[in-house]
Amino acid sequence: MVDFLIGLFLASLIVALFTTRLYRLLLWYSLNSLTLGLLALSIGRDIDDNAMIITGVITIIIKAIGIPYILKNLSQKFNFVRQITPEIKVQYAIMLIPAILVFTFYLSEPIVHMIHTNANYVAISISSLFLSLLLMMEHKHVAPKIIGFLSMENSLFLLGVTATNGMPMLVELGIFFDLLMAIVVINLLFHKEEISL
């Protein structure tokens, strides 16, 4: 089950890299967050960790439902450009993405030996981090860059879940709080832009 979810997590991120429409990108981000939440629930149930189960539920509510909903509303309110063509052409991206995956597995080889639980997942979370960075770099518009930043946060969450069997509850809640604060700031930046223009 965990293998299936982690595969789905990576797949949703890769598909997001090829997406050319904003709403579809939001959908892939939502799916990415949903698999992450389910993953936390699954691992939390396996190791009998209530804190991780709570974190999984909050992830699904905030990241899979709340944030995509808010971003969609923002995009309608401020008339975002919805055609978001990546700067990197598809034929190059097809070569670049597997190269990043292979490189990351090679890069994380020494670390993987030191982590006894879910070792390969650590490599996947690091590669997700690089792919999220790629998502930020390959777009000119701000909206996909925000999704890239949020995906990067998802990758770190995955790393926390897999490398350490979950961070302390206080830290997880703090990260959620900061994420909400980031959304408020993003909203304000768009809002002020509209006023000034």
């Binding site: 670390i111 030191m114 490398a163 350490t164 069997n165 302390p168 703090g174 700031v185």
Partner: protein, 471 residues
């Protein structure tokens, strides 16, 4: 109780910022000044002092950094009082600025006083996000672009910090469990960490994240451009307060990393900081405006602080840090007056001041300008002497004495480029250009006087003794 006292002024400031009344401006400024009181009280308490269980613990290092930051906060508040006389700023933007300034303080207090890697990160992230809006207070296209730039690059930097924290936590969790997040426990058990390589990887990634936030290589111009696009009190806040929160994290993480493997840490940090100073010195040489000049000089000084710290000279690092934290905001605040006839008018910037206020202003700015290039009796002169001395002392214990002497000589060449540029700029400011009359307001002059007094206090024997006792 102490935590409530520390947070109360910020919470009041946050609440008052919603009141749409002209008098609210003065209440906001007053509340901002009051932040200093609980911090002074905390500074005088015996250490270590548990503020919130093991999550927030006050010790000599963090209370010193917090005290310095709160004094800078006073300077920033005073400069804000006359901001509308130098630039165009609406009452609404002003209130919003204070709203985010309050959130910034909450984040700052948590990050500086934290004894927990996770709490440190949460505080730093909160402080970072709250500064994004402050950049946007300036309603220009450049500031809008830079606010987004800061949001995105800052988010990447802060993500790297979290990434490293997770790896460090993973490395120590087998022996410390969930308490592997605590700085004091990690420091006490640094030698027992079962995967030192994993810890070092985590430390390196966290450090790069923090260095990016401070404008180190390869992001040297990133911070300078952001500060150029913002109002000058925001730049003062960045250089004097936000960087303090970042550097205190570096101090904490590196203390543990020194115990894990000192040689690896030293080589990594030393090469990184030399590379940063190398690039920054040439960027300073080419700088054509005050904001970028001071910002890049700030990067140089933070690189020196980091270098002295890892070279086994915490006294020099803390002295240099204190001097930088007072000098740089003072210069940024004076930029409001210096640039009153044009952004890129360096020639004649120190001319055209009339009356006692004007004379005192140009005299103080001249002193600050000469102090940041470490002319005696600047605290930076003494910190650099101690710092370079410590570097040689460290090299004596290794087999790399010649390499260290070479590195110091190289550093001195780079510092002399910066020295030359600042002296040339000072002469251009004082003796070239046309004499145009400039107005100096009491509040900003008062801010400069506070910074000057703080610098003198830094050189008092009691302060130096305190800095010696911090580590």
């Amino acid at each position: 109780m102490m935590l409530s006292l520390l947070l109360l002024p910020a919470l009041i400031m946050f609440g008052v910022s919603f009141i749409k009344n002209n008098k609210a401006k003065y209440i906001l400024a007053f509340t901002s000044l009051v932040i200093l009181l609980p911090i002074v009280k905390l500074f005088l308490l015996s250490k270590p002092y548990n503020i919130l269980g093991t999550y927030l613990v006050a010790d000599k290092l963090d209370t010193y950094v917090l005290l310095v930051s709160s004094i800078v906060g006073i300077g920033v508040t005073l400069a804000l009082l006359t901001l509308d006389k130098h630039v165009k700023v609406s009452a609404n933007s002003y209130r919003r600025f204070y709203r985010f300034f309050a959130i910034f303080w909450v984040g700052l207090i948590f990050s500086i006083l934290s004894n927990h890697m996770g709490v440190y990160w949460i505080g730093l992230e909160l402080a970072t996000l709250s500064t994004v809006y402050m950049i946007k207070t300036n309603h220009t296209l450049a500031s809008h672009k830079e606010a987004w730039n800061y949001m995105i690059v800052g988010a990447i930097a802060i993500s790297l910090v979290l990434f490293g924290i997770i790896l460090m936590y993973a490395s120590a969790k087998p022996i410390l469990g969930e308490e592997a997040m605590q700085f004091d426990l990690l420091l006490a058990h640094a030698k027992d960490i079962p995967s030192p390589f994993l810890f070092e990887m985590g430390f390196a990634i966290t450090t790069i994240g923090m260095f990016v936030k401070m404008g180190f290589f390869p992001m040297n111009l990133w911070l300078a451009n952001i500060e150029r696009a913002s109002f000058y009190p925001v730049a003062a806040l960045f250089s004097g307060i936000l960087e303090s929160a970042v550097i205190v994290g570096f101090f904490r993480f590196s203390q543990i990393a020194m115990k894990v493997n000192y040689d690896h840490l030293f080589i990594f940090i030393f090469i990184y900081t030399i590379l940063t100073i190398f690039i920054v010195s040439f960027l300073i040489y080419r700088a054509k405006d005050f904001m970028r000049l001071f910002s890049l000089s700030g990067v140089e000084h933070m690189a020196l602080v980091v270098m002295f710290w890892v070279s086994g000279a915490p006294f020099a690092a803390l002295l240099h840090f204190g001097a930088h934290a007072f000098l740089k905001p003072a210069l940024f605040i004076s930029t409001g007056v210096l640039e009153s006839t044009g952004k890129y008018k360096i020639a004649g910037a120190l001319r055209g001041y009339k009356g006692k206020k004007g004379t005192l202003f140009w005299f103080l700015v001249s002193l600050f300008l000469l102090a940041i290039i470490s002319l005696p009796p600047s605290p930076m002169f003494f910190s650099e002497l101690y710092g370079f001395g410590a570097m040689i002392a460290t090299a004596k214990e290794s087999d790399h004495m010649l390499a260290m002497i070479g590195a110091i000589l190289f550093l001195l060449i780079l510092l002399s480029i910066i020295f030359y540029r600042f002296v040339a700029i000072y002469q251009t400011m004082k003796y070239e250009g046309e004499e145009e009359e400039k107005t100096v307001y009491s509040s900003e002059l008062f801010a400069l006087v506070i910074f000057a007094i703080s610098l003198v206090i830094l050189l008092l024997p009691q302060t130096l003794e305190f800095l010696h006792s911090v580590i």
